[in-house]
């Protein structure tokens, strides 16, 4: 049978096909955007201080002034802690805790919330060291640790990370939710020093890992592994946020299955025409 010449032809693209093509175009655009402008992974340089715990009396007095200005309203005039549970006493938290909170911009807190968010750092590196010195002078606590990722073992670090950190921070260090609006943040934006400080001091919800539990070498290995996590090899071409198999499956489903469905529709449209 032959089609008569000049027979009625329907428009090639029905509304369904063009809207499906639009969705596909959006997904492709989003994927390209992520490829061109990947987010995260910008590690801040560690403070280059040879012995950060060797504080001078000047630093302590300077820190005391800054503390009275910026911290005492919540943490108390002598760091004894505020009335709210969110303003814990700072006696005995050590320079490491102060350094972590200040260099990540979490402190000073803008407003009470479930958890202190990472913000632009409010103090200069010298001011932060002065505040560290003052907090350290309040009572003995964890000192600012030294960390050397290059000396760590990445395989051991991966094992330790999965055993101790991945529970909350996700196996690729991307973070996860906790209870009541709290969350475990992504570890990849933190500097090596900040990671070590967090391990030793247990900021906010995070448990504290003593040197008798995770040794200095263990922390170096974990840091080395986190360095790897900042730019992991993505065998699929794109990490999709390293959130695991669920988003990967979703992309396969949306791009793969939907793409095939659109092609089938297109073939059907052609056959009808």
């Amino acid at each position: 049978m032959r089609r008569p010449v000049g027979g009625v032809r329907r428009p090639r693209r029905s509304r369904l096909v063009s809207s499906a093509a639009f969705v596909l175009a959006l997904v492709t655009l989003g994927a390209l955007w992520n490829l061109v402008f990947p987010s995260g992974g910008s590690a801040r340089a560690a403070t280059g201080n040879p012995d950060p715990n060797n504080f001078t009396a000047d630093q302590v007095s300077e820190g005391a002034k800054l503390f009275a200005e910026g911290c005492a309203s919540c943490h108390g005039s002598a760091g004894q802690g505020g009335t709210q549970a969110q303003a814990p006493p700072l006696i005995g938290v050590g320079a490491a805790a102060a350094d972590f909170q200040l260099t990540t911009g979490r402190m000073p807190l803008k407003a009470p919330a479930a958890q202190a968010p990472v913000k632009p750092v409010q103090y200069s590196p010298e001011q932060i060291l002065a505040l560290d010195a003052y907090v350290a002078s309040l009572g003995a606590g964890p000192q600012i640790p030294s960390v050397d990722g290059a000396s760590g073992d990445i395989a051991v670090g991966g094992q330790l990370f999965r055993a101790n950190c991945a529970n909350c921070h996700n196996f690729a260090g991307q973070g996860n939710v906790l209870s009541n609006g709290k969350y475990a943040p992504a570890v990849t934006p933190a500097t090596d020093l900040q990671v070590a400080e967090a391990v030793r001091t247990g900021p906010e919800s995070m448990p504290k890992f003593a040197p008798t539990q995770l040794s200095q070498n263990d922390v170096n290995s974990i840091v080395r592994y986190i360095e790897f996590l900042r730019a992991p090899k993505d065998p699929g071409g794109h990490g999709l946020g390293h959130l695991g198999p669920v988003p990967e499956g979703l992309v396969c489903f949306l791009v793969g299955i939907a793409g095939l469905a659109i092609i089938c529709l297109w073939i059907g449209e052609r056959a009808k025409a």
Partner: protein, 376 residues
Amino acid sequence: MSDTDDSTGGTIGERLGVPSLERAAVAPTAEHVGPVHRSHADAGNPLSGGDERDPEPDEAKAKRDERVVATLFTLSGAAAIFFVAYYWVANLHDRWYNQILGLSLAVSLFLIGIAAIYWVKTLMNDEEAVQERHPLYDQRENEVAGEVFMAGVADSAFLKRPLLRRTFIASQVPLLLAPVVLLRSLAPTQPKKAFEHTHWKPGDRLFDAQKFQPLQLLDPTKGVTLDIGGFVTVLPESAITYEQTTDTEGNVIDSVPRVDPQVEADSVTMLLRLDPNDFDPNNHRTDYRYVVQGHVAYSKLCTHLGCPVSLYEQQTHKLLCPCHQSQFLVTEGARPVFGPAARSLPQLPIMVDEEGFFRCVKDFDQPVGPGYWERT
């Protein structure tokens, strides 16, 4: 409505563009092949697709088309050969290894498809065939089957002889029970006993499940110690075995620790260290006999479905289960405060010996992990 019908004329089906049954069911016979005039109503019929083709094919053009298809097949084969070769030759860790493999396979398959379509479109006859469907339901056949069946019933005297009928039915009931009884074999032989106990034995030392070192209270040089706000996953000493490699003279040259998965499966436990003042003194769930200087041990298996409850918020003293968001409050005997879990995490009775090692006093006093059918 009838006015409108009259003005347009024809059947409803024709006006909706649905081809009438007779037209769709026309089987192509010899005289139908070749130019046939068709009405415009056929344009919407998916069965009537197909390209316009020269009824008398040009042999030279056919030769050209054949070469095109052959080229496509050759390229497809070349891509497949490239796939196999690249798989063996290239380095697995190359940046684009997966992509190149996938792409070459995709090219190979895609070219086969294109070649097949080209073949069909250019070299094959454009012929339509319609296969008629049988009627789906035949009333007469049904009646005949019914008659045959009833004749059989009458012949068997099933209705006439009640003794026969009743004994037959009575014999079938136990037979139906037989497969139900067999289901019992799918369950463990003694489920209650197997689930009631874990591998913790009195006197077992608590070992760090990751570093395979004993937990210590006093001396950090002898084992792992915790700070306040710390926690660690522990296993009974017996869970850890050492796979030893010896040289020819029998000296141990390597010793690799292994965890017995059978032991780990039910005995995995968390040792947490809290400020002793943080425990809620009014709660009756914590067994304070087994809290040693703020150290307390709970089963790591969620009482909902047995996931590892390993997210610990040291400020709020909550243990979170990652699977269904159950939360257990450690300061109140690890009772569930949120989520689907209904029972508290079982507390492991622990003590510290004179050397400072943490030891198990006795097994959990209740089954760990999720509930089961004989759990009371």
